[in-house]
Symmetry: C2
Subunit: 384 residues, 2 copies
């Protein structure tokens, strides 16, 4: 049905009505006192969301632009970086690092499996002359629904002492606990169209004092993504280049909503949505792609065997107006992904699971008892 689309993809995520209406307000000038006030509030609330006193800078870029800023501002050509690769985004950061002339070493895991912290430990301990300048980790690997064990990997980085830890938190920020100051994370990049509940168009980078120290001697060329310029202007509640004004106004509203829900409640909700989705998928006898204990609260990837992923997505879209994501790169057609990130409620999961059951019936999938998925999700909701 026209205008009936329900987004269950890992971004853009659904946007609350009050945020959409804020987006539709006439823009104001970004060199005005009124905009300075918005920036001041947004910056304060971004720090709250990031659980940090570090700078949190807003750029007119997508998540990839935020990660690029997070890498090029703190490194020099030839610097050795250790990149965790267990999905499309980890691979992308390795490719990006190579494009900027960094010497890239990787820790790999199969798509759908988590990175092994002990492999980082081994490489970092072996680096006695401290040549590794940064460790780059994708916290929630959007392409597979795996949540990497950032806390443990970060402990090994801290034991190394020299390397910065640079985190892609694009689908983890606002979905799972990520205490930047407590853990001592140096650079954390994220994007608007995820946990923030606003449409795409702003990238965020949180930067620690240690990273700012590295910035001073980092030699990769930069201008538009030069975070020093953003830091200098953020102190005056402004930006060096034109910010996406309407998105910033929308962000102001969305951050107020997040504050009113509370961080703990937001994390608990995502945990519950993930749990209900995974239990429902198991009850439908569909194989989960990410193992228990390593799954992302933002997205659940499913790897069906007796039924085609793309057929499922097609019926879900055409008959039930629910957009699911497909697999990426070599997993195209092999998995489908259910996004449950941002402005998603318990009801949305029941809806999606009910539609998935109906879709499976439509596709003559026989390995499940009717109603089992919805019942399993309901059980999780009743228990939590």
């Amino acid at each position: 049905m026209d205008d009936k689309l329900m987004l269950m993809i890992p971004g853009p995520t659904p946007v609350p009505e009050q945020v959409l209406l804020a987006l539709a307000k006439h823009p104001i000038g970004h060199r005005s006192g009124d905009f300075n006030k918005i920036m001041a509030e947004v910056t304060q609330n971004l720090k709250w969301l990031h659980q940090t006193e570090n700078d949190v800078l807003s750029l007119t870029v997508s998540g990839t632009g935020a990660m690029e800023a997070g890498i090029i501002n703190f490194l020099s050509p030839g610097d050795r970086v250790l990149v965790g690769c267990n999905g499309k985004f980890g691979d992308r950061w390795a490719e990006m690092s190579a494009a900027f002339g960094l010497e890239v070493d990787t820790v790999k895991a199969e798509w759908g499996q988590p990175l092994a912290p002990e492999e980082f430990k081994a490489k970092l301990e072996a680096d006695t002359d401290k040549q590794i300048k940064a460790v780059i980790i994708t916290h929630s690997e959007t392409s597979t629904g795996v949540l990497n064990d950032l806390e443990t990997i970060n402990r090994h980085v801290k034991a190394h002492g020299e390397a910065l830890i640079i985190v892609d938190a694009v689908t983890s920020l606002g979905a799972v606990n990520l205490p930047i100051d407590k853990w001592g994370l140096d650079v954390v990049a994220s994007g608007a169209q995820k946990g923030y509940m606003i449409p795409p168009g702003i990238g965020f980078v949180a930067v620690s004092p240690k990273a700012w120290e590295a910035y001073k001697t980092a030699k990769l060329p930069r201008f538009y993504l030069d975070l020093g310029k953003y830091r200098k202007d953020a102190a005056k509640n402004t930006t060096p280049f034109t910010p996406p004004v309407n998105l910033m106004v929308a962000l102001q509203v969305a951050l107020r909503m997040m504050q009113s829900e509370g961080l703990e409640a937001i994390f608990a909700r995502h945990q519950r949505l993930m749990q209900a989705t995974r239990e429902a998928v198991k009850a439908m006898n569909l194989p989960l792609f990410a193992p228990d204990g390593h799954s992302s609260p933002a997205i659940t990837a499913v790897a069906p065997t007796n039924v085609e992923s793309e057929q499922i997505r097609s019926v879900m879209k055409k008959q039930f107006d629910i957009a699911l994501a497909g697999g990426q790169d070599h997993y195209k057609g092999k998995i489908f992904r259910i996004g449950h990130l941002g402005f998603v409620s318990d009801r949305d999961i029941l809806t999606a699971i009910a539609a998935l059951e109906a879709t499976l019936r439509e596709l003559s999938y026989e390995s499940m008892s009717p109603g089992a998925g919805v019942a399993a999700a309901a059980r999780v909701f009743a228990q939590s």
Copy 2:
């Protein structure tokens, strides 16, 4: 009055209601057939607006990001570039070029004065061993309201034969004739919040076949701003990184409005708005900053002598809810700027001039006969 603000700054520019409402629609997935269709239409209409068969690529960046992409994709460290500097933005491109290790030569003019094409001619003719790889020109210098003579400068670049011409068209595109194919412009960068009539958050870069040739051997590192990636994906009506979906939907609506008005009518309207504004300012005995014959149809800068610029802006804002722009850098407080770019009508100019007259009276400015400004603007409208 609350919610009554009228934007007369050079960006963000006013946004039509139908564009604002499009912006407030629920986002859709950018990896969907529905989004591909939007991209296909938008790309086609962008080519129409740019008067070109060249690629016109859309990036999630502000205008500065678009210019950076326009420079770093086609040059290598140490390449010599010739940059026209007669305002804040020309200066910015010189600074940016230096940040990327380019060897920067400049042609300068005082702020408020146009660049002299013959100075480009002399430097380009002297470059017999073709060391100048690119000439970088700001077409409409937003900081001063000067329109540089791009057509003549470009002719000298063409006579040189080797150098690319890279154009900042941020406040000229959609305001003044800029026939990319006819003139043979290689790289033209612009931004959403100007002639496009949508809020900030998309940058555009048009790229000629000659520039793509240079791209093949250009050695500056790039990833997020790598235009080759955007070109490859644009052929499939998609983008390498997440596009600002809602802004793209808004752009679709805005481009349809522009097509329905027609290019010639749009240019004539901006010409008329500029003429009416300038005649009115003259009639009020306020000095225009840019000379006749070299003024931008996007913005009129005024350099008042017997009255304070910042006082004028303050009364205009507080009493009449009209936002004017101030001067930038060393012209802060010395000039004010009236934006008449994008979704601006004859009525808006009458309104702004009437308010400016009332403001001058409020400030006890005595060098004008009451009503002279509005009368002068009305005369222009009656004649055109």
